[in-house]
Amino acid sequence: MGIPSPEKARDLRHFDALLDQVLQGRIGRRQVLARAAALGMSAASLATLSAAAGGPLEAGGLTALPARQDATPKPGGILKVGLQADPSALDPHRQTLTAIWHVIEHVYNRLLTINPDLTVGPELAAAMPEISADGLTYTFTLRQGVMFHPPVSRPLVASDVVASYERWRAPESAAASDLASVDTITAPDDATVVITLKQPDASILPILATSSAIIFAPETIEANGDLSQVAVGTGPFRFVEYVPNTRVVLEKNPEYWEEGLPYLDGLEMTFVSEDTQRTNAIITGEVDFVEYAPLRDIDQMEADDAIALAGDENMNIRFIAFNLTKPPLDNPLVRQAIAAAIDRNTIHVPGTFGHGTPTVGLFPPTFWAALNEEIPGPDVERAKQLMAEAGFADGLKTSITSWSQYSFLSAPALVVQEQLKQIGIDAELNLVETATMIEVVHSADPALRTYEIAVTGTSGHIDPGEVANNFKTGASGNLASYSNPRVDELIDQGMAATDVAERTGIYQEIQRILLQDLPWINLFVANQYEAMRSDVKGYVHVATGTNVALKQTWLDR
């Protein structure tokens, strides 16, 4: 037999990981196949996995095949990337914007990372941490020989991690609440970081893999005041320049610690925020790669041989939120009436164009914590009856607030508004820009949240605990101002539990309670795709929406 080749070993490792998930029922067959294909697994492995997932391997079963890794990667070339949004600044502790993340994720590393199979793996940590028996102490050993980009140009040490995390959880940080369960962060020596928790928290590992968890050198802050215009990390690409509203240029980091990576000489990122323009840019070849390939154009791109798509279900949820401090929405009968009146099968169409799934739960149907209940059809009669019971037989006036620039939310909001007319709810629709939306709907301060009904969404999370936290009494993400002691208790249990089956039970129970109480009415989850020219190879889609796989992407030209 001999020693397996590196490819073979990798294949086997991923195979084991996937099979494990399949057997635990954490992911479905379609997802298994997509991921296995993404990992470049052999047909035999695929067949085994597919059988384990409960079905034969059928041709054409995948909606989107990632770029195949079928040849030896060629180094060199600049990849022209079309990003959806201008980040406006680069400091992830000032604002937690996806747009910032999609620039700096190539420049910085974190201790941990999210693998394409949504498991957490080590990045700057040499291995997964040692966790004490009481679940309160996490000991990380750092990878050796990791160098910071110029002008810092020195090896990474444990005190950098401490400084980075302290800035992350400082009171003025926008993401401080991420580390609420952390007690102390210390560096006993240059290669060791010890994190102690106030109480056990199962979501701490994925949190250490999020965008706020970047490791930087304290010298950079000293020299520049903050990180808004610079980025000096340890990642596969070095920051060259950021011209607001124009472009970001990154160049290859020749000292990158992952052997042989990156393949590309650099990334030239431009901002193409209009959906139509992004489609045009990739179809005409003006750029080589676009994120957030517009869902309405997926079918067309799929038919185009010059374009390859990578993508699948994504961790996001689009929902109706009620401000429970605003009568009559504090009346559960009114919320139940609204839930009975809406038709998710119509609402999701302008939001996903068929590339998504209506849902009553908080997660994509194939996610391990998903609550896959049947989608109820609209029942206008029952809804009217509920309205009458609530004392609103003659209808009521309210308002719906949603995002003006995201048609995947504003168009569903229009449908909701129209559907509510049938039960006498006259809702004024306010489509507002980001700043207003963040203040009146997503503000951490309940006093600023003046909305009544909102059609909005959340995305990019990896652990169900992060989503469930939006329902914890007094939590900053609790935009509904919802409070239920039983749910609070379950959220704490979910954080403390480590067993997947146990956590699944807890999060499904939370979702069932939410379906009764209805602080949100979940509408649908949307798929997410990256589109690239077909000579762009090696890219792998990750369901958190990150583009970190550009480090292993290469150009076959």
Binding site: E274, D275, T276, T279, P294, R296, D297, Q300, T346, V349, P350, S404, S407, S410, A411, L414, V415, Q417, E418, Q419, E428, L429, N430, L431
Partner: protein
Amino acid sequence: MGNRGEGVPASLPLAPPATSPAARVPAAPRLLDVASARRPTRPSIWRAILRQRLALTGACIVLFFVVLAAVGPFVAPNDPTSLVGVPLQGPNAEYWLGTDEIGRDVFSRLLHGARVSFQVGLVAVGIAGTVGTALGLVAGYRGGWVDNVLILLMDIIFAFPAVLLAIAIITFRGNNLLNAMIAIAVVFTPAFMRIVRGATLSVRQTQYIEAAVSIGTPLPRILARHVFPNITAPLIVQVSLVFAFAVLAEAALAYLGLGNKPPAPSWGSMVSGSYGSLRLAPWASVIPGAAIGLTVLGFNLLGDGLRDALDPRLRSAH
């Protein structure tokens, strides 16, 4: 910032061009024939328009638009906000112009949108025309510091890019259709004021005004009975041109999500709402876009034709 009276700043894409030749109409050379100099008789205007094919085309388009705005909402086959069918259907027997992204009937929305555009044009031009004319008459007739102050005020308004000023006014007053109309009126008031002031300046020099003053006619009466009737010609031209720009401004504001609130139909918001599906469903955005373009073209052609018809110098050149 020289030459304010004539030029249109480049930053004002929506500002109507100043109609300077027409401004001299009342100073027409046929002073002996007072009756015809004071007011060109209606039949002659119409005859002049009919002589110009382009102006006639413009008049037809405008007439069509007016009829659409008047009867459109009554003949629309569907409710403009109801989700009547499968989204993004192409034009078919049931939905003549197809359906939009959430399944509303584009044809019905187009018909209802015509009324919104017409309403905005009417109200905005009404306000801007009344205020602008009053200010222009006073400034032109009184001259001196009154004139200077009014001109300065108008220049301040003129100095702002039109859409930016409108957005500022709407942000300040609240986002609804009425405020959008007011904002558009404010933006176009200087356009009327300048034209009227220019015309008033030349009328003021005439002998019949001198005569009226000499017999002690009160100022309001002079302005209303002797000056105003003699400046209607350039005013009519300006009304037609500004109407076009008001329709365009409403569409631009609606495209930016200002003014008419969703789901109420407006041509501008129809374009912006369906623009994303340009590849999949061009009809949903191209048709309302074409309606805006056609209406603006119609009013412009009519305005140009009226200008030619009402300017005796140009008329004789034909």
